[in-house]
Amino acid sequence: MDFNVLSLLIWLPVAGAAIVIGLPRRRPELVVPVAFALSILTLGLAGFVVVDFDLSNPGFQFVEKTAIWSDLGIDYNLGVDGISLFLVALTSFLFPIAIVASVNITDRRKEFMATLLLLEGALIGVFLSLDLILFFVFFEVLLVPMYFLIGLWGGERRLEAALKFFLYTALGSAFLLVGIIFLSAQANDQFGSPTFNYLELLNLDISTTTQYWLFAAFGIAFAIKVPLFPFHTWLPDAHTEAPTAGSVILAGVLLKMGTYGFLRFNLNLFPHAAVELAGFLAALAVVGIIYGAVVAIVQPDIKRLVAYSSVSHLGFVILGIFALTSQGVSGGVIQMVNHGLTTGALFLLVGMIYERRHTREISAYGGIQKVMPLFAGFFLFTVFASAGLPGLNGFVGEFLILLGSYARHPILAIIAAVGVLLAAVYLLWAYERVFTGELDSDENRALTDIGVREIGILVPIVALIIFLGVYPKPVLDRIEPAVERVLDRIEDRTGFDSPLRISDVTTDGVEVTP
C-alpha cells in the first residue's frame, strides 16, 4: 500500500467531525451535505479496501504498525481480514444513510452530525485494531458519542436509558481491561517484554485454567455488548430512546462489536477455553434466540419489538460462532452484516413513521397500507428479510448457521430452528396490526407516504439485501479463508476436531453441464 487506507478510514470521519463543528453557525444548511460527503468518502475508501482485498491471503492485509508507547508495548497497529472486512464496510455503509435519515434534526444539528462522524471513526477503529489497548480505547471511547446521541437527541426516557447503556457496557469493559492487562503481564513473563500486540499475543501459551478466567473476563464484556441473555436489558431501553440514527448504528454496528470480539479474541486467544465453553455459550445464544423472539411477540412498542428481535438475531450469530464449524462461523460473520442491514432498515422505517405520527405504539396504527403503500412495501420486504426468507440476505446467514451448528450442537440447532418460526410470528403479527385492516383513525388517514429522500435511503439497503441473498459468493469468498484460518488454529492448538469444514462438503450430483 502506498497510502495508509486503514488509518484514513478511521481518521477521515474524526477529522470530518472537526470540520463539521468548524462550519460557520450562520450556514446551517451546509452541515448535512458536508457530513454526508465525508461519510460517502469514507464509504469509498471502504469500497476500495473490499475490492483491493486479496482473496488468496487469509491473514491480515493493509497492515499498518507504528509503536506509539513502545515502553508499554502499545502499538498503533491496524489490519483487516475477512472477518473484519465486511463489518468495516457495513459501518461505512450505514453512516451516510444514518446521516441522511436525520436531516430533520434541527436541535444542535452540527453537534449531532459531528457526534455521528466521531462514532463512525471509533467504530471502524474497533474493527481494525490489532492492538488490544488500541481496541479497548476505541471500544470504550465510542460510548461517549453514543451516550450523547441517546442522551441529547433521544426520547422521553432518554436519560436513564443512556446512563444504563453507558454503565452496563462500561462494567463489561472494566473486566475486559483487567483481562487485557493480565494478558500483557503474561506476555511480559513469557517474552520478557510487555506487549499488547494481538498478533504477538497469539503466540502466548496460557494455562487452561488461566484461559478460563481470561475467557470470562473478555466474555462478559462482549456478552453485554452482543447482548447475550441475560445481559440484554440495556438494549431495548437504549434502542427505544435513541434517535433513529442512533438506533440504526446501535443495532447495525455497535452490537457487532460483541460478536466480533468473541470471534476475534475469545476464539483465537483462548482456544482451549473456547472449545470447552462453546456448548455453554451456544446454549446461552439459543436461549437468547427463543427468549428474544417470545418477548418480542407481545411488545406494544414497535421499537422495543425490533430491539428484542435483535436479541434473537444476535443469538444466531453467537450460535454460529461457537458451533466451531466453517459453515457456522462464516454464517455468523455474514449474519452480522445481514442483521446490520435488515435491523438497520427496520429502525429507519420505524423512524419514518414515528416522525409522522410521533408514537411507537402498535395499537395506534392499523390499515395504513392504504395511505402509505410504498412504505408498507418496503416494510414488508424488510420484515421478510429479517424473518430469514430465502433469496434475501437473512436466510444465507441463518441457513449456514443452523446447518453448520447442527454438526456440533444438534439439540441446540433444532431449538434454534424454532426461532425462525417465532420470527415470522412476531413480525407478521406486528405488520398485520400496523398496516392491514380498516383505516379507522383520522391521524392515520392523514399520513403521507414516504418521499424521495426516504426512498433514496432505503433503496441501497434493499438492493444489498437482495444481492447478498441471491449472490453471497463475493462475500463468502472473502470470509471463508479467514474463518478456516481461525478453525485451523483452534485445531492445532487444542487438537479439537471440527465436525464440519468446507472441505467436507461435496457438490457433485448428476453430471453438471458447465
Binding site: K164, Y168, H232, T233, W234, Y291, V294, V295, I297, V298, Q299, S326, Q327, K370, F384, L389, P390, G391, F395, V396, F399, L400, L402, L403, Y406, A407, P410, A413, I414, A417, V418, V420, L421, A424, V425, L428, W429, E432, T436, G437, E438, L439, Y471, P472, K473, L476, E480, L500, I502, D504, V505, T506, T507, D508, G509, V510, E511, V512, T513, P514
Partner: protein, 634 residues
C-alpha cells in the same frame, strides 16, 4: 435448449419485476396480458425442452447457473428430468390458463397490476421449487411460494379476515418448515451436501433405516404443512379469503401439491423407511376422509372446494405413501386440471352473483350460465371419478395400488373408497346447490355468463380434465400408459416402485369405486333435488349432534386457538412483562440502586464531629499497627 432452462423461471420473474414497477401504470388489461404472456412463453419453452422425454431419448441434466452457498452444497443449479418437467408443464400450463382467466376476473380491481405482479412472482417461485437440484434451492422455492401465497391471500388487505388468513397460512407453513429445516440439518450432517444427486442416489450408502426415518418424517412435516394435511391442514380453508384465481392456482393446482412433489422427489429416501412411507399413506387416507366429511356441510361455495382439495391431496399422499409415486404425480396433474376448473367455475359464479359465495343464495344457474355449467359438469364427473374422465383413472390407480399393497393398506383402501363415495355426495350437492334446482338468488341480482376471457380458460381446463386421464390407462395397445413410461426414468433409483396389481383385480376395484361414486351421486340427487334453502339440513337453523361438529370443521380452529395460541400469548406476556421487566431488568436496577443506597448508608458516618473523625483515623491506626506488629512478631 436444456442449458438455458433457467429461462423458464426468468420469464415470469422478469414479468413480476417489470409489473412491480410499471404494472399499476399500465393498468388493464395490459398488465394481465404481460403476465399471461411471460408464463405462457415459459410453458412453450418447457414443452420444447421436454420434447426429448416424450421421445424417450431424454437424459436427466443438472444445469449449473452460479454458486450460491457452496459450503452447503447448495448452488443455483437446476435439474431437468421427467419429474420436474411434468411439474413445470403443469405449473406453467394450468398457470397460463389461470392468468388469462384473471384478466377478466380481476377486472376493475384498484390493485390490478399488483395482483399480476404477485401472480407472476408466484409462478417463478413455484418453478424454482420444482426445478431445484438441491434441497437448499428447493427450500428457497418452498418459502417463496409461501410468501406469494401470503401476499395473495391477504391481497384485499383491508379485510381483517383476509390479512389474518394470510398470516395464518404463512405461519402454519413455517411450522412445517421448521421440520423441513431440521430435516435438511440431518441431511447435511449425514450426506455432507444438499445436492440431490449425492443424496438421493442410493442413500443407503450413508444412512441407516433409522436415520432415514428421522429425515423423512421431518421432511414429511414440511410436506404436511404445505399440502394442508392433518395436522396442519386448517390454514387452507381460510386461504379462500384470497381472490378465486389464487385459490385455483395456488391452493388447488400447484403450491399445495409441492408436498406431494417433494415426497416423490425424495422417494429413494422414503423407501428406506417403511414406517415413514406408511405414515405418509395413513395421514393421506385419514385427511382425505376427514376433509371430505367437512366438505359435506359447508355452505360457502369455495370452502367446499377447499376441503375437497385437502381431501384430494390426501389421495396423493396415500399414493406416494404406498410407493405409487407415479400414480401420485398422475393424480396431482389430473387434479390440477379439474380442481382448477372447479375453482375457476365457482369464481365465474361468484362473479356472476356480485361476489356472493353463500350457496344458500344460489341454485338454478344452469340456464343463465350455460358454458360455465357445462364445464362444471365435466369437472364434477372428473372429480367423483366417472370414466373416462381424468379423475377416474388417477384415483383408481391409487386405490388399486393401495389395495395391492395389502395389510394395513387394505384398510387405507377402504377409507379411500368411503372418501370416494363422500366425494360424490358433496360434489353432487355442490352442483345442485349452485347450478341445478331452483334459484335462491338475493333480490336484484341478475346473474350473467362470464365473458369469454374467463370462459375460454374454463373450456381449456375442461378438455384437460376430460381427456388427460387417457394418458395413463392400464390398457395395453394404443392407449399404453404413456405417462408412466414418461416418468419412470426419474424413479430408476427407486427399487420398490408399486404397480397396479395384475389380472382382473383392478377391474373389480374400478367397478367398486365407480359404483360407490354412483351411489353417492344418487344419494345427493335424492337429497337435494329441488331443495329449498331453509330445508337443506346443513343449512337448517338447528344443526344437531354430529352435524354441528362437522359443520364447524370439528372445531379445530377453536381448539388450536385455545390450546396453543392463547396460552402462547399468555406465556409471552408473562415472560415479557413479569420475567424480563421485573426479574432480569429488576435485578439490574437493583444493583444500580443498591450501590447508590450503600453510599446513602455510609454518609451518616461522616458525622461532621471532629472527634469522631479522629476516632476513625485512630481506628485505622490501630488496625494498621495490629497488622504490622503481627507480621513483625510472627
Amino acid at each position: 435448449m436444456v442449458d438455458y432452462i433457467w429461462i423458464i423461471i426468468a420469464l415470469p420473474l422478469t414479468g413480476a419485476v417489470f409489473l412491480h414497477f410499471f404494472g399499476t401504470r399500465m393498468g388493464e388489461p395490459a398488465a394481465g396480458a404481460v403476465a399471461s404472456a411471460t408464463i405462457g412463453l415459459s410453458f412453450l419453452y418447457a414443452l420444447a425442452a421436454a420434447a426429448d422425454f416424450f421421445t424417450g431419448s431424454g437424459e436427466a441434466e443438472a444445469v449449473h447457473l452460479f454458486d450460491w452457498i457452496p459450503a452447503l452444497g447448495a448452488n443455483a443449479q437446476l435439474l431437468w428430468d421427467p419429474l420436474s418437467a411434468v411439474m413445470t408443464l403443469t405449473v406453467t400450463g394450468v398457470g397460463t390458463l389461470i392468468h388469462v382467466y384473471s384478466i377478466g376476473y380481476m377486472h376493475g380491481d384498484p390493485r390490478y397490476g399488483r395482483f399480476f405482479t404477485n401472480l407472476n412472482f408466484f409462478a417463478a417461485s413455484m418453478l424454482i421449487l420444482v426445478l431445484a437440484d438441491n434441497f437448499g434451492l428447493l427450500f428457497v422455492g418452498w418459502e417463496l411460494v409461501g410468501l406469494s401465497s401470503y401476499m395473495l391471500i391477504s391481497f384485499w388487505f383491508t379485510r381483517p379476515s383476509a390479512a389474518a388468513a394470510g398470516k395464518k397460512a404463512f405461519i402454519v407453513n413455517r411450522v412445517g418448515d421448521v421440520g423441513f429445516l431440521v430435516g435438511l440439518m440431518l441431511i447435511l450432517a449425514n450426506f455432507n451436501t444438499l445436492t440431490y444427486g449425492a443424496v438421493l442416489e442410493n442413500p443407503a450408502r450413508f444412512v441407516t433405516a433409522g436415520t432415514a426415518t428421522a429425515i423423512t418424517l421431518l421432511l414429511l412435516l414440511g410436506a404436511v404443512g404445505k399440502s394442508a394435511q392433518i395436522p396442519l391442514f386448517f390454514w387452507l380453508p381460510d386461504a379462500m379469503e384470497g381472490p378465486t384465481p389464487v385459490s385455483a392456482l395456488i391452493h388447488a393446482a400447484t403450491m399445495v401439491t409441492a408436498g406431494v412433489y417433494m415426497v416423490a422427489r425424495t422417494a429413494s429416501l422414503f423407501e428406506l423407511s417403511s414406517f415413514s412411507a406408511g405414515t405418509v399413506a395413513t395421514i393421506g387416507a385419514f385427511t382425505a376422509l376427514f376433509a371430505a366429511t367437512i366438505a359435506l356441510t359447508q355452505r360457502d361455495i369455495k370452502r367446499v372446494l377447499a376441503y375437497s382439495t385437502i381431501s384430494q391431496l390426501g389421495y396423493m399422499f396415500l399414493a406416494v405413501g404406498s410407493g405409487a409415486y407415479i400414480a401420485g404425480i398422475f393424480h396431482l396433474v389430473t387434479h390440477a386440471f379439474f380442481k382448477a376448473l372447479l375453482f375457476l367455475g365457482s369464481g365465474s359464479v361468484i362473479h356472476a352473483l356480485n361476489d356472493e359465495q353463500d350457496m344458500a343464495k344460489m341454485g338454478g344457474l344452469r340456464k343463465v350460465m350455460p358454458v360455465t355449467h357445462a364445464t362444471m359438469v365435466v369437472g364434477w364427473l372428473a372429480i367423483i371419478g366417472i370414466p373416462p374422465l381424468a379423475g377416474f383413472w388417477s384415483k383408481d390407480e391409487i386405490l388399486a395400488i393401495a389395495f395391492g399393497e395389502g395389510g394395513w393398506f387394505t384398510f387405507l383402501w377402504v377409507i379411500g373408497l368411503i372418501t370416494a363415495l363422500l366425494t360424490a355426495v358433496y360434489m353432487t350437492r355442490w352442483m345442485y346447490l349452485t347450478f341445478w334446482g331452483e334459484s335462491r338468488w338475493e333480490d336484484g341480482v341478475e346473474p350473467h355468463e362470464s365473458p369469454p376471457i374467463m370462459t375460454v380458460p374454463l373450456i381449456g381446463l375442461a378438455v384437460g380434465g376430460a381427456f388427460f386421464g387417457l394418458l395413463n390407462t392400464p390398457f395395453r395397445g394404443p392407449l399404453r400408459p404413456a405417462f408412466e413410461h414418461f416418468l419412470e426414468p426419474s424413479f430408476e433409483g427407486v427399487i420398490a416402485m408399486a404397480h397396479i396389481p395384475s389380472g382382473a383385480t383392478p377391474w373389480n376395484l374400478a367397478t367398486i369405486s365407480v359404483v360407490a361414486a354412483a351411489l353417492g351421486a344418487l344419494f345427493a340427487y335424492r337429497r337435494y333435488r329441488g331443495a329449498r334453502a331453509y330445508e337443506i339440513p346443513p343449512f337448517a337453523s338447528k344443526r344437531t349432534g354430529v352435524w354441528r361438529w362437522v359443520g364447524a370443521g370439528y372445531y379445530v380452529d377453536d381448539i388450536i386457538g385455545n390450546l396453543l395460541v392463547l396460552p402462547g400469548k399468555l406465556v409471552a406476556a408473562w415472560t415479557a412483562f413479569v420475567f424480563d421487566n421485573e426479574v432480569i431488568d429488576g435485578s439490574v436496577r437493583a444493583v444500580g440502586g443498591g450501590v447508590r443506597r450503600i453510599g446513602g448508608w455510609l454518609r451518616p458516618l461522616q458525622t461532621g464531629f471532629v472527634r469522631s473523625y479522629a476516632a476513625v483515623t485512630f481506628a485505622g491506626v490501630v488496625g494498621l499497627l495490629v497488622w504490622f506488629v503481627a507480621r513483625g512478631v510472627g
